[in-house]
Amino acid sequence: MSDSSPTLAAHQPGLQHHFATMEQQTDASVMGMWVFLVTEIMFFGGMFVGYMIYRYMYYGPWLEGSQHMDFWWGTINTAVLLCSSLTMALGVRASQLGQRRMLVTFLLITILFGLGFLGIKSIEYHGHWVDGQFPGANFRFSGPNPAQVELFFSFYWAMTGFHALHVLIGIGLVTYVVYRSWKGAYGPDYHNPVENVGLYWHFVDIVWIYLYPLLYLISHKHLSG
């Protein structure tokens, strides 16, 4: 038991007892992360499929719902998230090169961007809430087909809500990695956790890259055209 206790490798980046080589260990953990991301795709996939089906069934209300998205906040948030992915990538690179200080800096900026994203999202959420665009008893909508518009907002809240939750978890993970890198846990030969957290961060980013056009863009364009 003692040789595989959770504290193993806590201070010393190193080989866990059940791996033969460092390479095997790295391969395993990268593969583990990819498999995990597949499960995440399936998780969000359920909602995307539902969105598509209803969009086909209730095209009008879906258009109507999109008009209530805040185009500018959405666009700014997309930019924020893309920047965070960039700093994340730079952070991973710094860890590969063994630049501890750069690594910590980049990751901290990433966290800031993440928080910024959530901040903007909460401004939007607040707006929707005040405007009575949260489904349920307080939902207010005066145009035609209020029910189907409410359905659109259900999707909006569920999809962006789960996405925001993922950003939050991502921030937690990055914070942990910052703490570990501060302690000097990662160097040129061992930076696997940074890479994995980076993969996760990019994934969360990509989910937004799908959410943004589906919720904010398609219908705006449609109306102006």
């Binding site: 595989s4 059940h18 583990g32 399936m42 209803y54 489904p135 349920g136 189907q148």
Partner: protein
């Protein structure tokens, strides 16, 4: 290979290396985690079984007299949820798979030992939620959670139950992820894919389903929870939400999940049949391929649960067609097991009796799957006891038998002791008889038209229901027996050899029980799986 003379106590192994609660609760040893799972799921099996007995007692008479209607609805709901999510899905993978996969492929542990422990804790968290649900008055959605009933019309602990299953789902996901990475990355030198035991293949196929399917269940249950808590109306028909959307999402996972509840059992049975025929499995490559084919095709048939739900005619045709396609690999497996017996050297040990039981009952259950996949017949029998019988034949007659067979087969390895063979055979026989008496009448009931989830029924169905209840009580005794003698054998059982059955496979080349790191030295594999031609048979008397 047999170093039986040395008494077990003197050898260091994973059980006696350390004692104390902490050494168990913080362990990252896959074998200890397997035992933690064993305890947890056994607990839930008896809870689920207890509900089943109450169901059967209520159905003794046509009138609803033993319990209230609402109570009955809670009983079958929680029976289904507990048995499926807290017993049968983790049964073989999380217990036997956890214990055996690293040893079978010549690894010291799973790829992520701490994730493995985490997955058990997640399981416990889910269990706590489920127990909370049960003790707080239960839940009556049916194990399928169909909307809008679950989202709008019930006042029971729907959110807690959905959360419980949402949470254990993540335990399955992590287990599957761990298995996939382990099997890809940690095989011993020389352990090529074509040398893997079929048990490993089976768990690999299972893991694919865990990873691809479980998240979809997670999101659908999460949406049900959100709908109840915050009125997000994703499935709400009043908002134009489609009640069938939930069914699609649910079955997209839950049909593949039924294969989670059979593939590992097929793996177990393959090991047992090869061992007690003392012979390489007939058609090894086809057996492995069939496992993967079932896992993949299993994702294309989900709407066969919805033939009368209001899906379009063409959708129904497609899903019926694929249901037949997925039956073909199952047929391949049954024929190959049978062919393995041919010219073997067959001994009738307890595990082998269970394997025979599995093959017979799975074949019957699977063939009734052919009945219900036939569109015209399904319209009549869906949501009747015919379906109940169909899946209990596979899940109880098949998978529970395989699980028990596996427990007996590997018990010497797990505990270092032999179970009492005579009692083992008696229990196997009781279970077989009790099982058929319980569930065969339900086929007839179903065709006669008795709907499922009925608290009271019309009197003409009574005779068969009484038979079924009688069978269930025999079954209960049959299941209690192994519990008792396994516990007994941990103390008084004969000390087991390293390889008491003369079986092939790396797990039999290490000590019984294995040491914490499984092998003193990682073996280099130079032989095919099931190389029984190079092993001596254990004569019947010595087994």
């Amino acid at each position: 290979m047999t170093t039986a003379a040395v008494p077990m106590r003197e050898r260091e192994n994973y059980l006696n290396q350390e004692y104390g609660i902490k050494s168990w609760l913080l362990t990252t040893d896959h074998k200890r985690i397997a035992l933690l799972y064993l305890l947890s799921i056994t607990f839930f099996f008896f809870i689920g079984g207890f509900f089943a007995l109450l169901i059967r007692l209520e159905l003794l008479t046509p009138a609803g007299d033993l319990v209230q209607a609402d109570t009955y609805n809670k009983l079958f709901t929680m029976h289904g949820q507990v048995m499926v999510f807290f017993f049968l899905i983790p049964a073989v993978p999380a217990v036997l798979g956890n214990f055996l996969i690293p040893i079978m492929i010549g690894a010291k542990d799973l790829a992520f030992p701490r994730v493995n422990l985490l997955s058990w804790y997640i399981f416990i968290l889910g269990s706590a939620l489920m127990l909370y649900t049960i003790l707080n008055g239960g839940v009556d959605t049916g194990w399928t959670f169909y909307t809008p009933l679950s989202t709008e019309f019930l006042t029971t602990n729907v959110v807690a139950a959905a959360m419980a299953i949402f949470v254990v789902g993540f335990s399955s996901i992590l287990t599957g992820l761990n298995f996939i990475v382990t099997i890809h990355r940690l095989r011993a030198p020389g352990m090529t894919w074509s040398r893997l035991p079929l048990f490993v293949w089976a768990n690999y196929a299972t893991s694919i389903i865990f990873v691809l399917g479980t998240p979809v269940l997670a999101i659908s249950l999460a949406l049900v929870g959100l709908e109840r808590m915050f009125h997000l109306g994703i499935f709400d028909p009043r908002l134009g939400g489609d009640p069938l959307l939930f069914q699609h999402l649910f079955w997209f996972y839950s049909h593949p999940a039924v294969y989670v509840m059979i593939l590992p059992g097929m793996g177990v049975v393959s090991e047992i049949v090869a061992c007690f025929s003392h012979k390489r499995l007939f058609g090894y490559r086809f057996m492995a391929l069939a496992l993967i084919a079932i896992a993949v095709l299993g994702f294309l048939v989900w709407a066969h649960h919805m033939f009368v739900a209001g899906i379009s005619l063409y959708a129904a045709l497609i899903f019926s067609f694929f249901s037949y396609m997925v039956a073909i690999p199952s047929a391949i497996k049954v024929f190959n097991w049978t062919a393995t017996l041919y010219k073997g050297s067959i001994s009738y040990t307890t595990p082998m009796l269970y394997a025979f039981g599995f093959i017979g009952l799975f074949t019957m259950g699977g063939m009734t799957g052919l009945f219900v996949a036939a569109l015209g017949v399904d319209v009549h029998v869906t949501d009747t006891y015919f379906i109940i019988a169909h899946f209990h034949y596979i899940m109880v007659g098949g998978m529970v038998m395989a699980y028990l067979g596996g427990m007996h087969f590997w018990w010497p390895k797990i505990s270092g002791r032999m179970y009492p063979e005579g009692w083992g055979k008696l229990a196997a026989l009781l279970i077989f008889i009790g099982f058929n008496l319980t569930f065969f009448p339900q086929f007839i009931l179903g065709y006669m038209g008795m709907p499922r989830r009925y608290w009271q029924y019309s009197p003409e169905f009574q005779v068969l229901n009484v038979l079924s209840t009688a069978g269930a009580s025999i079954l209960a005794v049959g299941y209690l027996l192994p519990m008792v003698y396994f516990l007994w054998s941990m103390r008084y059982g004969k000390i087991a050899d390293d390889n008491p059955w003369g079986a092939a496979g790396l797990e039999w080349m290490t000590t019984s029980p294995p040491t914490t790191s499984n092998f003193d030295e990682i073996p280099t594999v130079t032989w095919e799986a099931y190389n029984y031609d190079q092993l001596t048979e254990v004569p019947v008397e010595r087994q």
